[in-house]
């Protein structure tokens, strides 16, 4: 079943018909998603992004039709396990306070400063 080709190669490769997986309809509450992602978007923007995300998701959602029973998921490309550091204080990567606060939009004394929180999480 492995076809070995002699030259010329051009045109000899089997054209594959893309597998037609059924499209899937997806409901997105885009305002809720934007709130979860902390994105303060205008109604108009929400509309546009909602539509685009919908289209993209309906395209990619076709993978739901693929049979993956018994297939484990890949979360890491190399089969590595147990990568640890020993419990030692390393100062070389530590930062001086000026380094830390230099880039901050707002500070007070040695602290970063932010507007008040609404609720404790």
């Amino acid at each position: 079943m492995w076809t070995v080709f002699c030259e010329p190669w051009a045109g000899r490769v089997t054209k594959q018909t893309p597998v037609n997986l059924p499209s899937v309809s997806v409901e997105i509450d885009i305002a809720h998603v934007a709130r979860l992602a902390r994105l303060d978007l205008s109604e108009e923007d929400l509309d546009t992004y909602g539509r685009q995300c919908q289209e993209l998701l309906e395209h990619v959602a076709r993978i739901q039709a693929i049979d993956t029973t018994g297939i484990s998921s890949t979360s890491h490309p190399l089969p590595l396990t147990n990568r640890f550091r020993e419990d030692e204080v390393t100062t070389e990567s530590g930062l001086g306070r000026q380094d830390v606060l230099d880039q901050a939009p707002d500070t007070e004394g040695p602290y970063f400063r932010v507007p008040p929180a609404l609720e404790e999480d």
Binding site: F84, E86, G94
Partner: protein, 483 residues
């Protein structure tokens, strides 16, 4: 209707490792704000986490001590939520594959029982927010200040099953867990410093068979007393609501120590959506049986086992509990004295009674800071047994030993506290007393038994208090009946 409370506890324990969970910053030292930080725990762009092996060793110690199973391939997940003191706006935590699952803790107290442990998982701590302006509480604050020194300190979360039924049980569980964590040496376990923190999930239902009620999470309890009070208050609040045919709202409430009440925050819209997924910056862990047995073999004697051992030695259960719960030096003192021959019951009695009282009086926190050793205590108890010290003399010797004046014998001698318990010596003194009080002696011989006390008093006067009064009384009684 008889209402029943259903309580589960979530406990966060900060591990006392040298370095943080995912970077080499110091985890232990109190420092100036924002100085124990690096790109990793500050969430700078491009920084990556590398897990601390010792933290995993320690969570396994906790899990094994709580009779949990160890997961062979636990996974770190990202728990996504935005908060200003959470630098990456996700917390590296664990979701469906925590390091330890399915254990239990035996809890004593007035209502003893076994509390199921659902899971024990590893995560990282957040920074600290200080809310400024207003009344210092989160609502009404004008702005917040952030310090990230605590960010990334290893944190272990221990989640019980909803097995607790009363505030007292919740407190007993909390106290037992704290003892366990201390015995394991994995955390400072100080409530007031936040290195051990309790959150309670409380619901109330109409009876043991009824479906579970709506649960409310209570936070911000920083002593066992406030844990008990907060749970009591919340059970009362919910019971009251339900008896009035009201409804309990699913929410997080904060314990207000001064007001003695829980306060609701803003009601959350639905439950949080943390969008957990395996952290792609970390590779899976693989805990093989060898690693697990290595940790298991290193576990110290746990509080429950120690209590049982003390009881088997003949120590009263309450005292055994006090010894195990007390400052660790006291139990050490007890064990050392017993090893040197002291009677366990008497030693326990002395350690939990006189020693604690003497330390308190001298305002000393730990017995290890004093001159009192197990051998000094054993010697003291031996002298009492031999009748060489009276009760008050023994207390005085103890004070001297604690003050560093030397061993018990040395202090007793230096302070001239040793009793005359030599029969011949005492008999001589008694003859002198009888000769000086012939009248009283003949009345005693006539049956007036109370005169023994008077004559013993005279013996004590002549010996300036150093005679053993018991022995003197016995000798006088013997002399009066032997005509």
């Amino acid at each position: 209707m008889s209402w029943e409370a259903v309580i589960g506890l979530e406990t966060h324990v900060e591990l006392s490792t040298e370095s943080k969970m995912f970077c080499g910053c110091p985890a232990r030292f109190e420092s100036e704000p924002n100085t124990n930080v690096c790109p990793v725990c500050l969430g700078l762009p491009g920084a990556l986490p590398v897990p601390n092996r010792e933290a995993i060793n320690r969570i396994m110690r906790i899990g094994l001590a709580l009779n949990c199973s160890i997961t062979r391939q636990p996974v770190f997940h990202r728990k996504n939520y935005f908060y200003a003191d959470l630098p990456k706006n996700y917390q590296i935590s664990q979701f469906d594959l925590p390091v330890c699952v399915d254990g239990f803790l035996e809890v004593g107290g007035t209502d003893p029982g076994r509390v199921g442990i659902e899971r024990v998982h590893q995560e990282e701590d957040t920074g600290k927010s200080t809310h400024m302006g207003g009344d210092g509480r989160i609502s009404g604050a004008e702005y917040s200040l952030l310090d990230f020194n605590r960010s990334g300190v290893p944190l272990v979360e221990i989640v019980t099953r909803p097995d607790l039924r009363s505030a007292a049980q919740a407190r007993a569980y909390g106290q037992e867990l704290k003892l366990l964590v201390e015995a394991l040496g994995v955390s400072d376990a100080r409530l007031e410093e936040g290195s051990i923190r309790f959150d309670a999930n409380v619901s109330v239902r109409s009876g043991p068979e009824a479906p579970l009620g709506t649960k409310v999470e209570i936070k911000n309890m920083n002593s066992f007393r406030s844990l008990e009070r907060a749970v009591t208050y919340e059970i009362g609040r919910q019971t009251h609501l339900l008896s009035q045919e009201g409804t309990v709202v699913m929410e997080t409430r904060h314990w207000d120590e001064e007001a003695g009440a829980t306060r609701g925050g803003r009601v959350k819209e639905g439950s949080s959506d943390y969008r957990y997924f395996p952290d792609p910056d970390l590779v899976p862990m693989e805990i093989d049986p060898a690693w697990e047995s290595h940790i298991r073999a290193s576990l110290p004697e746990l509080p429950a086992a120690r209590r049982t051992r003390y009881e088997q030695m003949g120590v009263d259960p309450t005292m055994a509990a006090t010894l195990v719960a007390g400052e660790s030096g006291l139990a050490g003192l007890f064990e050392e004295a017993v090893n040197l021959g002291a009677g366990p019951s008497q030693a326990a009695n002395w350690v939990t009674g006189e020693v604690v009282a003497a330390l308190r009086k001298a305002s000393i926190n730990s017995v290890t800071e004093t001159g009192l050793t197990g051998s000094a205590l054993a010697e003291l108890l031996e002298m009492i047994g031999q009748g060489k010290l009276s009760g008050s003399a023994a207390r005085e010797v103890l004070t001297g030993v604690i003050a560093g004046e030397g061993g018990s014998g040395q202090v007793a001698a230096a302070r001239d506290l040793i009793q005359i318990s030599d029969t011949e010596m005492l008999a001589e003194v008694i003859e002198e007393v009888l000769a000086a009080h012939p009248d009283e002696f003949s009345r005693l011989q006539g049956g007036e038994q109370k005169l023994v006390g008077f004559l013993v008093g005279q013996v004590m006067r002549r010996t300036r208090g150093k005679a053993d009064p018991k022995l003197a009384g016995a000798l006088i009684a013997e002399r009066s009946s032997a005509r």
